[in-house]
Symmetry: none
Subunit: 274 residues, 2 copies
Amino acid sequence: MLSANELDRVCVVLVRARNPSNIGAVARAMHDFGFSRLRVVNQFPVPLAAAKSAVDASDVMTAATSYSSIAEAIADCTLVVGTTAVGERNLQHELLPLAEATPKLQAELRRGDAGAKGRVALLFGSEKTGLSNDELSHCNWLLTVPMYEHDDMRHPSMNLGQAAAVCLYELVREAAPSDKAAANETRYAWGQHAIAEPATAAQLELLTSLLTEVMEATEYTRRHAHNCDPAQIRRLVRRIGADAIDAPVWIGILRQVLWKLGLPPEDRHSASGN
Amino acid sequence: MLSANELDRVCVVLVRARNPSNIGAVARAMHDFGFSRLRVVNQFPVPLAAAKSAVDASDVMTAATSYSSIAEAIADCTLVVGTTAVGERNLQHELLPLAEATPKLQAELRRGDAGAKGRVALLFGSEKTGLSNDELSHCNWLLTVPMYEHDDMRHPSMNLGQAAAVCLYELVREAAPSDKAAANETRYAWGQHAIAEPATAAQLELLTSLLTEVMEATEYTRRHAHNCDPAQIRRLVRRIGADAIDAPVWIGILRQVLWKLGLPPEDRHSASGN
């Protein structure tokens, strides 16, 4: 089981959910297992409004918040994990089965207990298509609920409410025996930071846009176009796993490169660099 | 993981399910996790007929069988386990949380492998009332999915499709160590996604020296001298944890920056960039 604080640091993010009753089902599973932060990303807020007006709308649904972009919905999160049914897609991310993914999620939440930020976003895609590659690019890594491979070769996918129920069940299924995973995640090994505060998704997004600018300004994008799809760049930055101390250093270095290349600083966002 | 034979010896028994779409949701979860025997107990067979006529009725639904009493539905089973949300009821049975119940279910299924019958029935009650005491009396013992106890004192209960999904997920969640051969028989997809090879120390060292050059060429070292101790830069690069695929990309980006700044390429090492 997770502590009340840990439960509170899990955000379930539904991206392009179409069916209000599915949103309601996710909210119910969250309530059942003690989670409360539901965030819904839709270009039009209709599904959430409809779901909120459902008769049995729970406290989770009432408190749910609506966003028009993934970046906004996860801005305060330090670990962003996408769920996928795998299928035919050629995934560009590290992928873990749910039972192996969970200790890593718990470690991030526990890191929060030690005073660091440690807020986890768990992304679920639309019922029909799941998360697109562009949406997946916001994720640090992916998890999947292993399903049976039937002979008919049709790729299985779970119902949204059931997938959420299974993932949340696994998160609270048992207390991790000790803190080994968490210890591995912290930085004692390098002797650099006592507790590594993870970077927020907002910092990583700024890093991504600065890196993109550098790649364009230096003509890297022209010479290596195959590496420069926006989702590829976003994934590249997510994979570096920068923490709250390193992220501003990288941001500062990229700003300095742009400055040296004669690009005006006012183009750049003012969020804390170095 | 369960073997194909073990999967085949699990019967999911829905007692007085009212809503055809809930029956469909249970069938879908069964299909997702490789189970196939769905039995529906109703005094009137209406819900099953309605569920079977649904557009996306799966093979599980098509093969589902209908009974008018629990006794008939479980006649060939050797272990009958009821699911309950507990609530206020004064239970007369042994009750186990799902994670503790599962090894007992698996042991019964495995006994079947040795030639004994070993067929397990997992009973779910109606959406509204769960299993009645009379219905529970058919069970050897009970299991429950532990849920969060909210302050409002209302007893939580899970959605039928979600409860089934969680229970079936737990049943196939992991192979018992003794059961490796059997697990190989069945196929759960989470893909053969290789976890990336780590970058070599040589690649990281090249990355470090290129980054150092960029920091100097852009005057970052002058403005942020406190970040620029060689050991600090080396640690910064080690912390990004680049793998063998990403490292050449970062090397390529840094080379491009240096090229754009007009620094001669012959200064740079020839080790594989991108």
